[in-house]
Structure formats: structure tokens, C-alpha cells
């Protein structure tokens, strides 16, 4: 945000913050050790507001749970902003010095009264006002979010709607205040940092910037494509039109993980060439023409990963890879040789040093400085201590010569798929504590608390449908149907259904989910599909 793709704050800052908005995140289950840090903040007296359609296990620790309707985050955020302005609680000096676009923002949120937002979101007006006042008057405050914000067709709107609140109150760029997207995979931050984005080189340098390109071309000794590439969702669209005919998939299982997954499987099956490099024979690998068995990155190879607080840390080989499995570096190096480019046999450290020579935010992080506990980027020189938080420049009189941070005027948009008589329930998906994504890894151990192949529904809805706890039912969306078990859950609001996505071999849940997506982020709307639950026909016989 504001020019750098990472969360603004160090975990330990939350120990000292005064107000926490946990928005679309069930961190207690999805990021449990971050939640330990959050609990230190609560133990030290912070107030927490949990914004989530579900009364999650995280929300149960909050001072207030704001149980909004799925997909009404922008309405709620805009109403919070309007209330802060109306009550005279905006930080006018910060806005004047460090931001642009305030007038347009204020005009945009002006119609978003508390009563309007209460009607739209289902959250009582008093609770919205209480959260607005608490956030604006706090000495230090953080907004934390995860996929409850980003897995929507208007994901970017959701994110900037939250960023607006930080700009309105000056809760960013200083110790204890910040904007914290918790990352879902152990190196999704590092992947982006390393340039695994369609439009960036390592260190977030744009591919269409001639100066950046010239720098990389000089070191790589090859011309580089100046045109931004496609993100995942666009790749599937290009498969549909026939523009994309070959795919090399490394460590991803889209044949299980994609929304509207039957459609995605059809497109993968229609490719001329599919190469999969993975540690397991996933469903995607089973469809491949060539499978390259890879070593387990974090236990069988050396390298680095980067966490949600931008901390770069070493992973190290502890055990040898089995059979023919090889490290990703070896596989890619051999492939390059077959294609006519000899890159030698670089170690992980050799590649890291090359990266440091090209990415200024990593320049000051030689291998030996990462040995013990890691460093947080940006770390531009070897005498730099790393950066616990970002955007301190917002508080400098001259903004250290940078452009001010822009407000964004965004408006409420409903989930792409409306509820209808035929599909009257809202399905949202998420993680459970003991499992992970499509279960490729977490399926390997016996968890005594695993329940995951059930659909959670409110007791009233279950009663109206005439289904009992534990009963198998047919769950249908406009894209398909699956059979699964009902779990009657009083913590689920009426009209909502929830399930995890960890057990595709038991319940192919992404048959149901909606692949409507945000053209700016490329993320599908996993959080909002319309479904119907029907009783199974009794078996006669």
C-alpha cells in the first residue's frame, strides 16, 4: 500500500496498541501465533472490534463483534469514515500534510450515514459509531485483515476503504499504528518480493520502467519483456480464448483450489502442454504431461522466506529429499541448460546475493545477517537495522520528497452473485485451525480436532430445511452440486453457511464457489456464492 506491497507493522507493535480492528480475519485459527501477539495487546488493555459475518473464535475475544452481511465491508468502512469526519475526529494536520483527495473522499462518504450503513450491513448503528470513535480517538490503532477482505470481486475497493480510515486518523507510519494484511502462505510475501507478480521485478520494480528493466537486463544478460504479464485469473481467461496453451505450474494445485473448479479443470485439461513441479502427485499433477518431483523447500533445501511483517528468514535443509525429488533451484537450472542457457550451479546464497544487487530493499541483508531471527525489509545497507514499520515518511514535514498518500473514493458493491429464491443462502469459505488450503500438506498428520468436511448452518435455517446436525445433504450453487454433512452452529448467523476447503477429496467445495473476480487483484470471490441446501432423497430398498 502507498507504493510497497507489504503490511506496515511489526507483530510486536500490537502489544502496545490501544485499538484493534480485526476485519475479515479469523487469526486465532488461520494465524495462531500472530494471535498470541494480539492477545498480549488485549492483555495490556487494548480494545478489539471484530468485523466478520461469523462469530469466529477470534471474534469471541473482541470487545465487540460487528457481524456484517457478507460483502458489505465498503459500506461499513465508509460509514466509519463519515462518522469520524462528522464527529470532528479526523486528524486534519495529517490529512493536510500527508494526503491528497480528502475532499472527494469526504463527499463520497457523506451519504453513508450510520442508519444507512446499519440497514445495508446489518450492524447496529451504535456499534458502528462506537468503533469509529474508538479508532479515531485511540493513541495507537491497527487494522488487520485477511481473505475476508480480499476474496471478493471488489477486493481492491475493500482494501483501500480500510486504508482511507488510517489516512483519516493518522494511524499509519508510526510505532503501534498500522495496516496489517496477514499473509496466508509461508512465502506469499516473499514470492511477491522476488517478482513473482505479473508486472514487477524483484523489489517491486515495475517491468514497464525502462531504467529498472535496463538494470535487470544488464545482470541477467538478456532482454526482458516490457509488457506486464497475466495474473492467475487472466491466465485461465487466456486458456479459454486459446491464447495460453502451455502452463508450467510450480507448487500450486489449481485443479483443486480454483473457484468454479470444474471450469478450471476443463481449461487445464485443454492445454497443449502442462508441466507440474510439486512435492506431491496433486490433482493438478495428475493432469500434467510432465511432472517434476520437487524437494520440500522448508525442510529439504536452503533458501529464504518472508513473513507478514516483511521479515526475511532462512529456511534450511534438515533431511534429504526422497527418491528423485530435487530442489527447485536444481530443476530450474537443468531446464535452463536444456533450453540453451547455462546458469551454472548456483547455491541459494549465490542467488540471494544476485537478488541483493538488484533489489534495494534487500541490499543490506547478506546471508550471515539473516542467520539469527532475520531482518525486516526495507534494509538498504549492511549497517541498516531493518524496518519494523513502513511509511514513517508520512510524518516528515517534507514527506521526504515523496508524493502524498491518496484517499480513494469507493462505493459499496454487492457480491457478484445475488441471493435468489432458487439459491437463497450465502456460502462463505475459510480455514480451520488444524488444516491448510487443499489439504496436500495438512492431510499428512492425524489431527484429533479435525471436523472439516461439514457445512455450518444456523439452527433456525437447519430447522426450516428440516435437516439435523450430522445429516448428509445436497448443496448446490449455479455451478454445480456436492453432497456433504451439516453441522448446526449457533455462531453462524441466519442466512449464512460456512465451510472449509481443506478436503477436496471428500467434498469438492470449489465446484460451488464463484469465479467472479477483481480485475485489479485477480482474486476470485471465494467469500460469496449463492447456494441451496436440499435434503437427500431417502434411499429405498
Amino acid at each position: 500500500m502507498f507504493g510497497a506491497g507489504g503490511g506496515t507493522s511489526a507483530y510486536e507493535e500490537i502489544h502496545e496498541t490501544d485499538v484493534i480492528l480485526l476485519w475479515g480475519s479469523n487469526a486465532r485459527e488461520a494465524h495462531p501465533i500472530f494471535f498470541h501477539h494480539l492477545m498480549k495487546g488485549l492483555d495490556n488493555g487494548a480494545r478489539m472490534f471484530a468485523v466478520d459475518p461469523r462469530l469466529t473464535s477470534s471474534a469471541k475475544f473482541a470487545d465487540a463483534w460487528l457481524g456484517l452481511s457478507v460483502g458489505t465491508d465498503v459500506a461499513l468502512a465508509n460509514a466509519v469514515g463519515r462518522e469520524i469526519i462528522r464527529a470532528g475526529l479526523a486528524d486534519e494536520a495529517f490529512i493536510a500534510r500527508a494526503t491528497t483527495g480528502y475532499e472527494a473522499y469526504a463527499a463520497n462518504v457523506e451519504p453513508c450515514t450510520l442508519d444507512w450503513a446499519a440497514e445495508v450491513t446489518g450492524v447496529p448503528a451504535a456499534a458502528i459509531a462506537d468503533m469509529a470513535h474508538a479508532y479515531a480517538t485511540a493513541g495507537k490503532a491497527q487494522i488487520l485483515w485477511t481473505l475476508g477482505i480480499t476474496e471478493h470481486h471488489n477486493a481492491v475497493d475493500n482494501v483501500v476503504a480500510l486504508c482511507n480510515l488510517a489516512l483519516l486518523t493518522g494511524h499509519v507510519g508510526r510505532w503501534g499504528s498500522g495496516l496489517v494484511p496477514l499473509r496466508g502462505q509461508n512465502n506469499v510475501q516473499g514470492g511477491g518480493d522476488m517478482g513473482a507478480l505479473p508486472d514487477r521485478f524483484p523489489g517491486f520494480q515495475p517491468v514497464d520502467d525502462p531504467a529498472a528493466r535496463a538494470k535487470f537486463e544488464a545482470v541477467y544478460g538478456a532482454g526482458l519483456n516490457p509488457v506486464p504479464g497475466k495474473h492467475l485469473t487472466e491466465m485461465f481467461e487466456a486458456m479459454e480464448t486459446g491464447d495460453l496453451r502451455a502452463c508450467y505450474v510450480i507448487g500450486e494445485n489449481p485443479a483443486d483450489s480454483d473457484a468454479a473448479v470444474e471450469h478450471a479443470r476443463g481449461l487445464l485439461a485443454g492445454l497443449e502442454v502442462l508441466v507440474v513441479q510439486d512435492i506431491f502427485m496433486t490433482r493438478t499433477a495428475e493432469m500434467a504431461d510432465v511432472v517434476l518431483p520437487a524437494a520440500v523447500a522448508w525442510a529439504e533445501t536452503d533458501g529464504t522466506v518472508t513473513s507478514s511483517e516483511r521479515r526475511v528468514q532462512r529456511v534450511r535443509a534438515a533431511v534429504p529429499p526422497p527418491g528423485q525429488a530435487r530442489s527447485d533451484i536444481d530443476i530450474l537450472g537443468d531446464l535452463a541448460r536444456r533450453l540453451g542457457a547455462d546458469w551454472g550451479h548456483p547455491s541459494a546464497e549465490d542467488l540471494w546475493d544476485e537478488l541483493r544487487s538488484l533489489s534495494p530493499i534487500h541490499a543490506g541483508m547478506p546471508w550471515d545477517r539473516l542467520e539469527d531471527g532475520g531482518l525486516q525489509w526495507p534494509c538498504p545497507s549492511e549497517d541498516h537495522p531493518g524496518s519494523p514499520f513502513l511509511h514513517g515518511w508520512l510524518w516528515a514535514d517534507d514527506l521526504e520528497g515523496r508524493d502524498p498518500a491518496p484517499f480513494s473514493a469507493v462505493q459499496q458493491q454487492w457480491p457478484a452473485e445475488e441471493l435468489t429464491e432458487e439459491f437463497p443462502l450465502r456460502l462463505t469459505t475459510g480455514r480451520a485451525l488444524d488444516s491448510y488450503n487443499t489439504g496436500v500438506q495438512s492431510g499428512g498428520y492425524d489431527s484429533p480436532i479435525r471436523y472439516g468436511h461439514a457445512i455450518d448452518v444456523n439452527p433456525g435455517d437447519a430447522g426450516a430445511l428440516g435437516v439435523a446436525d450430522g445429516e448428509r445433504v445436497l448443496v448446490s450453487s449455479p455451478r454445480g452440486s456436492v453432497e456433504m454433512e451439516v453441522r448446526v452452529q449457533p455462531d453462524i448467523p441466519a442466512g449464512l453457511a460456512f465451510t472449509t476447503f481443506h478436503f477436496p477429496e471428500l467434498v469438492d467445495i470449489n465446484v460451488l464457489t464463484n469465479d467472479a473476480w477483481d480485475p485489479r487483484s485477480g482474486t476470485s470471490e471465494f467469500k460469496a456464492a449463492s447456494i441451496r441446501i436440499s435434503k437427500l432423497e431417502p434411499a429405498y430398498g
Binding site: 498470541h36 492483555d43 496436500v440 499428512g444 492425524d446
Partner: protein, 282 residues
């Protein structure tokens, strides 16, 4: 008062300076004087129950626990007087006379140092009465062996305010019948337990043990002297928890986390602690 001004005290006749807020234990460590501990851990709040760390403090009638007593200016502390040695020896003997300390490896050198002999309380025909009950094996993740539990409360602290905030366990019963217990003594999978294993991580006696370690010990295959420990980062969510992989015969046999790491403080979740088996899968 400036909270950063160091405190000055005397330990065993030696002038010692310690950072403000230090305990006597920390001041001793800083001065190179080691202290036996059992219920203390650097990532837990001291609960003061085992008394194995007691020291003599000038002006104090009773011995004081070094692990929790703050160091103050002008204190005169003695850690190696006859009274301290006698007290530490008897604490160790009392602990060892009630339970099996064979896997409480951190205490063995101290027991030898102080000449602690738990069996000296036995009379002919009256051996010391130790807790005796079968190991509770209820799942594949960890076991509970009450014969080894000294009720140090570390597991309760790690499950509660000091880390996990799950509060699945507490002490139930009194005296010789006191046990760390789930609510109403229900089986673990029916309790509030979320299987983070942080209780196992802090247990000093082997009363709580990872099932992998327990099985290897049962088979007489647990060989810590042959194990390597490699530090890496967990493969699941994006928090970046450091893991120490304990490897024996090219297989992971146990996962812990360093208690001085800024991300974890030594604590993990169920996935980080137990979710590594896929590395050796299929």
C-alpha cells in the same frame, strides 16, 4: 524514576550490575552463577511453585525464590550457603520421592551436585510412594504420563495467559491426588484443547511427551545424542514461525521453537508443531 537505571547488588560477595527489572535469577545468570530451575522458563511468567531456585537474602527471614524476586539496589544475595544447599537438596528429593524424574534431564546434574537421594526416605519394607498410573495415550500427537508430573504448572501457564489463551487444563484435586486435568477430566479430544503442543514444549520432566518421542522411547530407539537440530521456518501460514527440526536417522522426530525468537517466543500451533509428517509421506 528512570526505569533504565541498572540495579547494583552483591551476589556471593561479588558486585553485580543488572538491567532494571531483572530478577535475582537473571542477575545471577548475568554474573555467571547458574541456578537450578524447574517451574521457571524464559517464555513464561514465574509461578513460584517448585522452590528449587531459592537463595538467601540478607534481611529476609525466609529463603526467597530467585526466579521471581526482583533484584534491588543494595541486595546481598547468597546462593551457595549450607542453608541454600540443604534446601535445594531437600526440594529435589521431595520432588523425586513422589514422581519419576528419570527424564527430567535438566535436574540430573543438580541432583548430583547437591547429593539429592529421593530414596533415602524409604524405610525397610516401606519404599517411597510414587504416583503410579498408566500413560494416557489418546491420539497420535502427544501423551500424558502422570508418573512424571511434578505439578510445576508450566503447561497450565502455556495453555493460559502466557501464550495460548485456551485454558484447557488446570490443577484438580489436592495433595497426593492433585493432577493437571482437563475440564471434568474429559478425554483430550473432547476438551477445549487445540493441540498446539505448547504444554509439551515447556514440560521439564517428560510428563507431557510428543507421541513420536514416546513411541521411539518405548522401542528403545530414542537417541538424542545422534540427533541434529536444524532451524527453519514453518511451511503453513505467513506468520513466519521458526521451527527447530530434531532429526534422527534422516527423519524428523520432534519439532520445537526457540523460546528467544521474536515471532514465536517458543510457542507454535498444531500445524507447525505436528503438521510436518507430510515431509516423510508416501
Amino acid at each position: 524514576m528512570d526505569g533504565s537505571t541498572p540495579v547494583r547488588l552483591t551476589i556471593d560477595g561479588q558486585e553485580v550490575e543488572a538491567p532494571a527489572g531483572s530478577t535475582i535469577h537473571a542477575a545471577c545468570e548475568g554474573a555467571g552463577i547458574s541456578t537450578p530451575t524447574l517451574c521457571w522458563a524464559e517464555n513464561l511468567t514465574p509461578v513460584n511453585v517448585c522452590r528449587v531456585c531459592v537463595v538467601e537474602l540478607e534481611g529476609s527471614r525466609a529463603l526467597v525464590p530467585a526466579c521471581s524476586r526482583p533484584a534491588e539496589d543494595g541486595m546481598e544475595v547468597r546462593t551457595d550457603t549450607e542453608r541454600v544447599r540443604h534446601s535445594r537438596r531437600m526440594v529435589l528429593e521431595f520432588l523425586g520421592s513422589g514422581v519419576d524424574l528419570s527424564q527430567a534431564e535438566s535436574l540430573h546434574a543438580w541432583m548430583e551436585h547437591y547429593g539429592a537421594d529421593p530414596d533415602r526416605y524409604a524405610d525397610e519394607g516401606h519404599p517411597v510412594e510414587r504416583i503410579s498410573e498408566p500413560v494416557k495415550v489418546q491420539d497420535e500427537l502427544y501423551v500424558r504420563d502422570y508418573e512424571k508430573c511434578v505439578l510445576c504448572y508450566k503447561c497450565v501457564e502455556a495453555c493460559g495467559d502466557d501464550a495460548q489463551h485456551t485454558y484447557a487444563i488446570a490443577v484438580a484435586g489436592r495433595g497426593f491426588d492433585a493432577r493437571i486435568s482437563t475440564e471434568f477430566d474429559v478425554a483430550l479430544p473432547e476438551s477445549a484443547c487445540v493441540y498446539c503442543g505448547n504444554c509439551v514444549g515447556v514440560c521439564p520432566t517428560g510428563a507431557l511427551q510428543f507421541k513420536t518421542e514416546f513411541d521411539l522411547r518405548q522401542a528403545d530407539q530414542w537417541r538424542p545424542e545422534e540427533q541434529t537440530v536444524t532451524r527453519t521456518v514453518c511451511s503453513y501460514c505467513g506468520v513466519g514461525c521458526n521451527l527447530d527440526l530434531h532429526v534422527q536417522d534422516e527423519r524428523i522426530v520432534k519439532v520445537t521453537s526457540p523460546s528467544d525468537h521474536s515471532v514465536t517466543s517458543g510457542h507454535l500451533c498444531i500445524k507447525g508443531r505436528f503438521g510436518w509428517e507430510y515431509v516423510h509421506g508416501e
